[in-house]
Amino acid sequence: MQKISAYFISLLLCGWIGTASCLGQQADSVQQKKYYEGGFSPSALRLGVSLNNIIQTFADTQGDYLGFQADLPIRQFMLSVDYGRATVQLANQQDVLLNRNFAYSSQGSFFRFGIDANLLKDKEKNNNDARGDVIFFGLKYAHSRLDDALTFTVQDTLYTSATLSQSNNKLGAWWLEMNAGVKIQIVRNIFLGYTLRYKFFRRLAGGSSLIPYEIPGFGRGIRENGFGFDYYIYYRIPFR
């Protein structure tokens, strides 16, 4: 199912990126020099909050999630920073004989930063200024730190049955991301946007034998790569 969702989003984004590419071709044929107002100084600050994290927190009894994003548009680029927190609590006190009796909790935070490039060309201004609507692609470095603890009961006919505990204290995780998405101005200075992430090259540092159920900002701890998706609402603070 995750692949299907990734495919769906890819189609959506590819459609728009294709549009941007068409626009680019039209502008290129004019061969005009691109002009960016304000040179290399940031033109605005966009602050966003992850809507799907909020929805997930209310819909899912297992966890609380919060995610923020900020970007500084500089010409066709955006310096982008994300920060978020996640708390997960899972338990099963029922199936003792099936070795499914356990309690797990984790809490942690993450940040990611990197650069996005706007692929959407404004034909009127003949540039890819990222302060307005953007279709972007970018690369990010991400880091997460979490504490988690697991208590579970093992029933065994040959060996001793026991309740075992494992925990991670300040477990570090880092990974790389390829991001693609859109940010569209719905009303003045209010933007909505998607970010589709391909997360890869995940590494853990300082852990015990307990694999975290969920790494904040990354997803399931057992995986070394995967897709992620965030849906943001942004407010833009223009600088000029």
Partner: protein, 295 residues
């Protein structure tokens, strides 16, 4: 001015976004309770037949207990079996009992835990399997990751039985050649009475014995051995025969087995018998005969 397609997408962005959210909500990853991890280590028996080959070995009777005597497994004609690891520990020790011997097998391993989901519970992965103590000829960890797939297709641990069949004994069989007119002679086993059979080191291998065959150790320190045969004939005269043998001494190291001394290229330097023939020039306890001696 932006492209019409983009403007259409922008105008319907809220609608597209909501639709996408519904699709994504339906696509939430559901963990499966079925996975490949298991706490059962699969063990297979092999026989090492020569330096490069191994064949699966079947043990007629097998019983396994823990070191403190709790029953684990029992079976007949076993070539592969499974041993359970302790889900709360990192070391297990088993006694593996066969008809003729009881061996020890001590395994160590690491465990890793992960929560699959609230419904499926916790799963433990067993890995880094190693052998810390064993009393078989040889034991090898073939696959250190313990999975159901390994159990189904192969084994985690291979227990080897070595064949120590080489020896230092030359087997002599005595035959009588009976001539037949216009036909090849008839050959039959001969029974002889030796007053003595000695070697060049002074060892006596027969004294006033009636034999049809002799098994005589060669001199392991030299590359040749002389044997002296004395027997009383019917007319009372004493007949002396000599058999001087030479051979090559090499050391054979079969994989995972102890080194063995091999005596081969057996040949004669000198003999006084009527005739003789080599049937096998390697000294091996599986050979019934090395030299046929004809009187």
């Amino acid at each position: 001015m932006k492209h019409n397609t983009f403007l259409w997408a922008k105008n319907h962005f809220l609608l597209i976004s909501l639709l996408s959210l519904f699709v994504l909500a339906a696509c939430e990853d559901q963990a499966s309770c079925v996975n490949d991890n298991t706490s059962e280590v699969s063990i297979a028996f092999y026989k090492i037949t020569d330096a490069v080959q191994r064949t699966q070995e079947t043990v007629p009777f097998l019983e396994v207990t823990t070191a403190d005597g709790r029953f684990v497994y029992s079976g007949e004609n076993v070539n592969k079996f499974k041993l359970p690891l302790d889900p709360t520990g990192k070391q297990v020790r088993f006694l593996i009992i066969q008809d003729t011997a009881t061996d020890v097998l001590e395994l160590t391993y690491n465990r890793e835990q992960q929560v699959i989901s609230a419904e499926c519970g916790v799963d433990q992965r067993y890995y880094d399997l190693d052998i810390t103590q064993q009393s078989f000829d040889s034991v090898e960890v073939v696959e250190s990751e313990i999975t159901k797939a390994t159990n189904a297709q192969g084994s985690n641990v291979a227990i080897y039985f070595c064949q120590y069949d080489l020896d230092d004994t030359v087997k002599l069989n005595f035959y009588q050649r009976i001539p037949r007119l216009n036909n090849p002679p008839t050959i039959r086993a001969d029974t002889l009475v030796f007053t003595s059979v000695t070697d060049d080191r002074g060892n006596v291998w027969a004294a006033s014995d009636t034999v049809s065959s002799l098994r005589i150790p060669i001199n392991p320190e030299a590359s040749q051995t002389a044997l002296f045969f004395a027997r009383q004939l019917a007319d009372g005269t004493l007949e002396q025969d000599t058999l001087e043998l030479r051979y090559r001494t090499t050391t054979v190291q079969l994989a995972r087995c102890l080194p063995q001394t091999r005596y081969d290229q057996l040949d004669t330097l000198r003999y006084t018998f009527d005739s003789l023939a080599f049937s096998n020039i390697i000294l091996d306890q599986n050979n019934a005969e090395n030299i046929s001696i004809f009187y």
